[in-house]
Amino acid sequence: MRRAEIAIVGGGITGLSAAYYLSLMGIDNISIYEAKYIGYGSTGRCAAGIRASFTSEVHVTLMKEAIKGWKKWSEEIDGVKFYQDGYLWLLTNDKEVRLHKEIMSLHNSLGVPTKLVDREEVKEIAPNIVLSDVMAALYDPTAGKSSPFDTTLALRRLLLKRGVKIHEYTKVLRMIRAGSKIKSITVEGVGEQEVEYVVIAAGFWSRELLQPLGYEIPIIGDPHHLMITEKVSPLVKPLVIHKASGSYLNQLPTGKIILGAEYPVRENDLELRIGFIIKAVKMMSRYFPSILNANLQRIWIGYYLKTPDHHPLIGFLPGLENAVIATGFSGHGYMMSPIIGEEIANLVVKGRPRLKATEKLRPSRFEEGEMLEEKAIFG
């Protein structure tokens, strides 16, 4: 009989980070089950941005902790790099400028030192920009970027070294409940595996895993396009967002440029759109015309997992004492992962999270009528 284990369902950044912190806390029977390969889902498809400049206290608190985590990971985990290159929101009308003055005050009051900068300062921060209709910008010098591929592969290497079992192309088919516990999981090609704890970090696929147990978790998959160019010499350091259209540009340290734009499509409609390319390029080439000369290398779709209040679900599933869920990050799962992984480990090992902010994200909050507020969900 195999020993009961701590099973993490999902080999994205959330599952990997959870395994890392559990391992640091001395847990030695961890298994990660990934239906495809490490980073296949939203993690490997994200735009690599990291920021604490949110408009809800819970998000800001978590992200400030996460940025501390990113700095620590950069120092402690071979292969992880965090580049604190900043975020720049381009504002093109009076209304936006007024709103962002308020948002800046909110950030500052929560300890995030964003500042409203004028056209001249924008030019200093991003010398290659064509200012065009930019009136001002909100600048977050504490934000940055990190490669999801480097990070997931670095964690994968480290976890294997620490004795974590990583099962790729191994799907968890269902979870079997006995009273107030998940007793075991059924693993494709393996059979039934007893579990001490189960961590559900399967992103979009968490929903179908939980449905048979009667849990209807309120997340929807919102497909977002991204595209990336070939490597070019440095064009711009911070991630630049055109606020009015939700379009953005992020040049990675390798030289490749990621372009994104709001281009709504339905949850199950995953066909790539030329319309997205046109929108993203049209918006961002207004400020960086030379991107029209870059070669497009790849284009793909990934899910933002949205909850009704645009905040993630982290905590014990109601009525279960050994099942923790962490999903629904609205496109911010990668950036939040250092703190989320730590909190998952705290939930499993100590029974509760370290931060009050995390407590507010408990899955039962919707039934309890304690929804949270967040106004900025792009980038």
């Binding site: 490597k231 015309p289 000369n293």
Partner: protein
């Protein structure tokens, strides 16, 4: 000192060069000819180093010569381009690429009609054919001459795929071009295609991807959305690399890349050459190098036996070229260009045996170590692929009429499994008649033709040489209604 690498006399080829033009390489005027690729012109003038890599500052020169690798990127008038698929033009200013390319400010790829919602032209057509080698040309001819409206696109400067650099004489039946050299077949077929008015040939055009709105083509920097009823994917294959120390040094080149230089443009790839791989490509390029006046120091083969046909091996042996079995290249030496190849014996597990290293002085190492089907677009269409080593890697699953699991998406030629020009032609015809039958119903003349070609393909593959292909096909050919 720069040296002229143009082949001035050749026993079987007469290079018809276009109008002479002058281009400038880092300020120095260089002679070039219209119709040739920039990479060929630079290489012909003795230039080895085309770029320096961003991270380690390593020198790079041409490798694949078909726009697949990026090793030959240079700056032309400030824009980084793959020089092997960029035609020369009078007065071009060329610089070596140092590090990453800088995006130019002059907007020669500016999206047109900036204010419209869709800046790309949209075109509906019956058939889109991607890849203008033998398979794509064959399918185009049948479809366009039977009343279908066809777009044939290819990212190269010229039509014909690999045929345009094949100088050997084909054998077999009349219908399969017996007695003709490959490049001649391409020329004649192209002339035939150019006379078909339903056929639109777009060269220097990349099929970027498959989208909800259609297939996005990029034609010399201009976007075009094409909505076809049927698709034939015939994008061919690309050359495999081999892992060894300094394998990126200028002078290490794909055998196909070297053939492009030598047979298409009349430029000698090197004077003293080591060829890696004794399959037909390795043997044929060796013979062609000898014809063009180069010296082949050795053919190195890791397997215990020669991979290609006996007739080809016998020919190169007669010229005294040693074929070293159970040997591999473990390193290249040189600073800005190959000076020597270090070879070594390999054991049963294909591992180099310590102490058996030998140094062969040479300026060129050609890799003839197989091809991989170019299936990016195939997979974008959602076509199921499986890994079949006998066919070169990931290959599309299809029925015997060459239709894939995605209705109306067909495959033909090397993209469906690495074989050769003759089978690619036949597959192109089969795919074309299958489309005609789907579109116009099972008319007897189409069905008859298709059956003939299926039989011809079976016959062609019945020889012992095709045993590997036959066994590979068992994994990808399904059903057939």
């Amino acid at each position: 000192m720069l040296r002229n690498r143009r082949i001035e006399s050749h026993p079987i080829l007469h290079f018809q060069r276009g109008k002479e033009v002058t281009i400038f390489f880092e300020g120095t005027p260089i002679k070039a000819f219209e119709g040739e690729s920039l990479a060929a012109a630079l290489y012909a003038s003795g230039i080895d180093v085309f770029r320096w890599t961003p991270k380690l500052g390593r020198p790079r020169g041409p490798f694949c010569m078909v726009g697949k690798c990026g090793s030959c990127m240079v700056e032309v008038n400030g824009v980084a381009v793959r020089s092997c698929i960029t035609p020369v033009r009078e007065g071009m200013n060329i610089r070596r690429l140092r590090g990453l390319p800088t995006l130019p400010k002059n907007l020669d790829r500016m999206i047109e009609k900036e204010n419209s919602d869709n800046p790309f032209e949209e075109v509906k057509t019956d058939v889109l054919i991607v890849g203008g080698g033998p398979a794509g040309m064959a399918a185009s001819e049948v479809l366009a001459s039977n009343g279908m409206n066809v777009f044939l696109v290819d990212d190269q400067i010229r039509l014909g795929g690999q045929l345009i650099k094949q100088t050997h004489i084909f054998f077999g039946s009349q219908e399969l071009f017996a007695g003709k050299r490959g490049f001649r077949i391409a020329e004649e077929y192209e002339a035939k295609l150019r006379s078909l008015k339903n056929l639109h040939i777009l060269l220097q055009t990349t099929a970027i991807g498959v989208f909800k709105e259609g297939v996005l083509l990029l034609n010399k920097g201009k976007g075009l959305i094409i909505k076809p009823k049927y698709v034939v994917l015939s994008a061919g294959a690309f050359e495999n690399y081999l892992l060894f120390e300094n394998n990126d040094l200028p002078g290490v080149m794909g055998a196909g890349g070297a053939q492009t230089l030598m047979n298409l443009y009349g430029v000698l790839p090197g004077r003293e050459v080591v060829v890696v791989g004794s399959g037909n490509v390795g043997l044929i390029i060796t013979y062609q190098l000898l014809q063009a006046g180069a010296k082949v120091k050795a053919i190195v083969e890791a397997a215990p036996r020669i991979g290609g046909w006996f007739v080809h091996a016998a020919k190169v042996r007669r010229y005294g070229v040693p074929i070293l079995l159970r040997h591999t290249v473990i390193a290249a030496e040189g600073k800005d260009r190959v000076r020597a190849a270090i070879i070594s014996e390999v054991d049963e597990r294909w591992e180099p045996v310590k102490g058996t290293e030998k140094r062969i002085e040479c300026d060129t190492i050609l890799l003839a170590v197989g091809l991989t089907p170019n299936t990016e677009l195939v997979r974008q269409f959602g076509v199921k692929t499986v890994y079949v080593p006998e066919l070169g890697g990931l290959v599309p699953v299809r029925n015997k009429y060459l239709e894939t699991n995605i209705p109306n998406v067909f495959v033909a030629g090397d993209v469906a499994g690495v074989e050769e020009a003759t089978t690619a032609f036949i597959e192109g015809w089969i795919a074309a008649y299958s489309i005609l039958i789907k579109e116009k119903g099972p008319q007897s003349q189409y069905v008859k033709k298709r059956n003939e070609y299926i039989r011809m393909l079976d016959e062609y593959r019945s020889s012992p040489v095709s045993a590997r292909v036959r066994s590979g096909l068992r994994h990808v050919e399904v059903g057939g209604s």
